[in-house]
């Protein structure tokens, strides 16, 4: 097994290779405005560092969001097209799940990432592997109280949520965590059929989780121009 995983649903453009047992290489650049430029070089970096070539890759995994849409689509489009051209399957994993997995926590907590517009994307976790609810999008002060928080969205709104609730854990969905979480699932028999049926708890088809409808107003009658 050679898993190529990447995520572009947060300011971190991150890629990793995983051989089914461990992360062979991981590379991350934080730049919220250049996902489209950075992703392919980041993939090339992890291949080089692991001494692997693309033809060795057996499965592509991408963070499916939620996250700011323009960057999110770069990762998912890349996963779909790369997998199609390599003839291997592509799967999506909830981006918040990768943050949760990276925390290594064994008690309940929330993950929050920046959703822009003064909102956060968030999920409620029982432990690093188990999402209880979400993903959802809310104003930071509407998050469930009391639970500790992980993720860059929590840090951004530390004053609203309470700085004492923030845990010291990786704040982005690093691709090493994404790949490890996916690799745990990929050995299952009939995995492709289960994912396509939409019932798998971790893996999905590589399609975006938006959580918001496009901003667009159906116009009223044309404006009068007057005389």
């Amino acid at each position: 097994m050679l898993v190529l995983a990447f995520d572009t649903a947060t300011p971190a453009v991150t890629a990793a290779l995983h051989d089914g047992e461990r992360v062979l290489a991981e590379s991350t650049t934080v730049d919220a405005r250049r996902h489209g430029e950075l992703l392919v070089p980041t993939i090339e970096t992890v291949l080089r560092e692991a001494g692997a070539v693309l033809a060795d890759v057996t499965v592509v995994v991408a963070g499916a969001g939620p996250g700011p849409y323009t960057g999110l689509r770069v990762g998912l489009m890349t996963a779909q097209a790369l997998a199609a051209s390599l003839g291997v399957p592509a799967y999506g994993v909830c981006t918040l799940d990768a943050v949760a997995y990276g925390s290594g926590l064994s008690e309940p907590f929330l993950v929050a990432t920046d959703a822009r517009r003064k909102e956060v994307f968030w999920g409620h976790y029982e432990d690093m592997r188990t999402r209880l609810s979400g993903p959802a999008v809310s104003r930071p002060h509407d998050l469930p109280a009391d639970l500790p928080l992980v993720g860059a969205g929590a840090r951004m709104y530390a004053e609203v949520v309470g700085a004492s609730r923030l845990l010291d854990a990786p704040e982005y969905p690093f691709a090493g965590a994404l790949a490890s979480l996916a690799a745990e699932q990929l050995g299952e028999p009939d995995i492709r059929e289960v994912v396509e049926s939409g019932t798998h708890p971790v893996l999905s088809t590589p399609r975006p989780v938006y959580l918001r409808r496009p901003d667009a107003q159906v116009p009223a009658a044309p404006k009068k121009v007057g005389t």
Binding site: P41, T70, M77, L82, A84, S85, R207, P222
Partner: protein
């Protein structure tokens, strides 16, 4: 000509996900998924709706193109993609897909200019372009006059709209007349039952000596004319309004196109872009070119509107010209200037 490279072209600058496959100047496949129906109720293209639709449509549309051409991924020699100009988020989906296909297949990538691709596509129908030629591109997003010494290397802007694009004016006037979006085909159809000389609408920048266009004043004039009739309760004959508006647009377009030919001593005019599908534009351009001794080339309507074949065609020209492929780090550039044929 089987030694010519097989190029797959990807176009996502607006609301059409277009995939084309060419070998040299031979068209092998041209598949399109359009999100136009999703935009219609908004009266215009909604960028986020278009971007979402491109991501959904991309891989199935590529598969359909390969199927149509009877090819497999491993047959493709190069990928070409619209790098700009266009809607930033929409372009980015196509560019991301193109890079991934190029990376996965181990073939070169060519990021190309959308407007130059509109010029290049005519070669699929009418053979190699005369060097130089004048090209007029008219669509919902662009109205440009270009001097084209060599579409793969050198395109010079002679003029463009200072406000609305021609196709934009069609959309806006269609709304005023209660016709659906996109307005071009509906106005064209309505105009067939009307008179182009019924109402004397203004022709912006008609005699200003430049090769620029202006359609904003015309659009407003039509709206005022309609509103005045509505206020006074007089009937509005939609076919006459449509025909007179359309006549004003195509009169200015063809006049300036031939002015460009004259000023630059060029005997060949090409018209491309979605508005080039307009029947009155095609007819009047032919009439005026015949009178001026200029040869007119207009691709068939399916190649005038945005499509992937045009991107593949320009990509093929770049391969033939020995142009260095693009880096896999190229950005999508929503305002890519026409002077940059490839990135």
């Amino acid at each position: 000509m089987s030694d010519e490279p097989l190029v797959l072209g990807i176009e996502t600058s607006c609301d059409e996900t277009g995939i084309g496959i060419v070998r040299g100047h031979t068209l092998l496949a041209n598949t399109i998924a359009s999100s136009v129906d999703e935009h219609a109720r908004f009266g215009g293209v909604v960028p986020e709706v278009a971007s979402r639709a491109h991501l959904e449509a991309m891989t199935p549309t590529v598969e359909r193109a390969l199927e149509q051409a009877g090819l497999r991924f491993s047959d493709i020699d190069a990928i070409a993609v619209t790098a700009g100009p266009g809607l930033a988020g929409a372009l980015l989906v196509g560019v991301a897909a193109a890079k991934a296909y190029a990376l996965g297949l181990g073939v070169p990538l060519y990021g190309v200019n959308h407007l130059a691709a509109h010029v290049a596509v005519d070669q699929l129908e009418h053979g190699a372009l005369p060097k130089p030629c004048i090209a007029m591109l008219v669509s919902g997003g662009h109205s440009s006059l270009l001097l084209v010494p060599d579409v793969a290397k050198d395109v010079i802007s002679l003029g463009s709209t200072v406000d609305d694009a021609a196709g934009e004016a069609f959309d806006k006037v269609a709304r005023v007349l209660g016709l659906p979006f996109p307005g071009g085909p509906y106005i064209d159809r309505a105009a067939r039952d009307g008179s182009g000389t019924a109402i004397a609408f203004p022709r912006g920048k008609y005699d200003d000596g430049t090769l620029d266009f202006s359609f904003s004043g015309l659009k407003t004039a039509v709206a005022r004319w309609v509103e005045a009739r509505e206020r006074s309760g007089e009937p509005i004959h939609v076919p006459d309004v449509a025909a007179s508006f359309q006549e004003a647009v195509v009169d200015v377009l063809t006049r300036k196109a031939l002015q460009a030919c004259r000023e630059h001593g060029v005997q060949d005019l090409l018209i491309g872009g979605g508005v080039a599908a307009n029947s009155r534009l095609r007819a009047l351009a032919q009439e005026r070119c015949d009178a001026a001794g200029v040869r007119l080339r207009v691709p068939r309507p399916g190649l005038c509107t945005d499509n992937g074949a045009m991107v593949a065609t320009l990509g093929s020209d770049l391969v033939a010209a020995g142009v260095t492929p693009s880096s896999l780090e190229i950005p999508a550039d929503s305002s890519l200037p026409i002077t940059t044929v490839h990135v």
